[in-house]
Symmetry: C2
Subunit: 224 residues, 2 copies
């Protein structure tokens, strides 16, 4: 169920034949990013793609009033930024790091060269983009049809899934980021987290959220 909300494009690297993988990995230049640092911003011109070795980043859009809608949280092992490169358009959204991260950059030339030389790579990218498309459609339907309470429950489950890999079972995002992912306002989010605590579904400690009763959250999220 949660996998309907995860890009999970790790398979690109895993399923790539050794030669191509080596070539891709060799062209990566890694760089450290501090929390809140921007990787790229909407409107600028893509010059390559990114791969998260470690850490997390948010993909988001700002509207004219400066409100932010988080579209996706990238986790370690995921590629990003290739859709704008491939569509030959400026970035349609922004990516910023939400916890200290180590991110590799693959220059446009290297990336395009690999696409041209490797049908397998193209094929994997097609598969990945197609899956990402379905994730977006799922999330869009959730944002437009479900209540804030349902969306908070679902977002916690999505984040739990991302954080279980690295930090043991602890979700650590700012309330503002969480509210921007849910598509609500921090005050409303705080109230709902308060409710969830009272109902014994989660515990919090500063910005850290721990999920106690996953099944109940699944029920509340009302998503099958």
């Amino acid at each position: 169920m949660i996998k309907k909300f995860a890009f999970n494009n790790q398979f690109i690297l895993n399923e790539l034949p050794e030669t191509e993988r080596d070539s891709l990995v060799r062209s990566m230049k890694s760089k450290k990013y501090r929390k809140n640092q921007a990787v790229f911003s909407e409107g600028s011109i893509p010059s390559g793609v990114f791969y998260i070795n470690d850490g997390k980043a948010k993909k988001f859009k700002l509207d004219s009033e400066g409100r932010e809608q988080i579209i996706y949280i990238y986790n370690e092992g995921e590629f990003f930024g290739y859709s704008s490169l491939l569509s030959e358009e400026p970035y349609g959204d922004s990516v910023s790091v939400i916890e200290d991260a180590n991110i590799s950059f693959i220059a446009k030339e290297n990336f395009m060269e690999l696409i041209d030389s490797s049908p397998t790579f193209s094929r994997l990218l097609l598969k990945s983009l197609s899956h990402e498309f379905s994730v977006m459609a799922n999330f869009m339907a959730v944002l437009s049809q479900r209540t804030v309470r349902e969306r908070v429950a679902l977002s916690l489950l999505i984040l739990h899934d991302k954080y279980k890999v690295s930090s043991d079972e602890e979700i650590s995002v700012s309330r503002l980021d969480l509210s921007n992912m849910v598509g609500t306002v921090v005050e409303t989010l705080a109230r709902i987290l308060h409710d969830f605590k009272e109902e014994g579904l989660i515990t919090t400690e500063g910005r850290i959220i721990r999920i106690i009763n996953q099944d109940a959250l699944v029920k509340i999220s009302n998503f099958y």
Copy 2:
């Protein structure tokens, strides 16, 4: 501005070299669909891709309560259904015809064969999927951040753009479909259309909507 909300994948056919285009076109089998007829449904297994020769179709998701969120309205000249095929997953959404249509089907084998044999075709699909991804992100942000009034204005502009090609400047969709595109309820939609009429921005005649003052709608939509 409106092109941020259009897949516009007509370029696939236009930019395809003649040999490949011929091969693709030869493998098409056209079929007539009546209004409201389903082309495919969420959960079923893709067996090919579709191309609209004539007519319009809606891509949508149903939630557990049976509410429908329209994700996109396909127009003549657009391909659809290839993202599920390429992601090797069951359909993540449904497509139904909203006015009598003539739609061609390309069997999976033919489509995949062309991908394998034509790097240009792969490349065009990558470009198309990437663009579609950005359209989804744009629409998602609109659904989560903008008021119903703003969304109605934007949706009318989007539809106007689709309908100007075929029927001269007349939008003809059911109020229910329009409300499901906007992400609201028919009653609320009716009220807002009423307001727009009073403000002299549109006229209606049965289900037909004509846009009188496009600039004003752009302003109301509050999208740049």
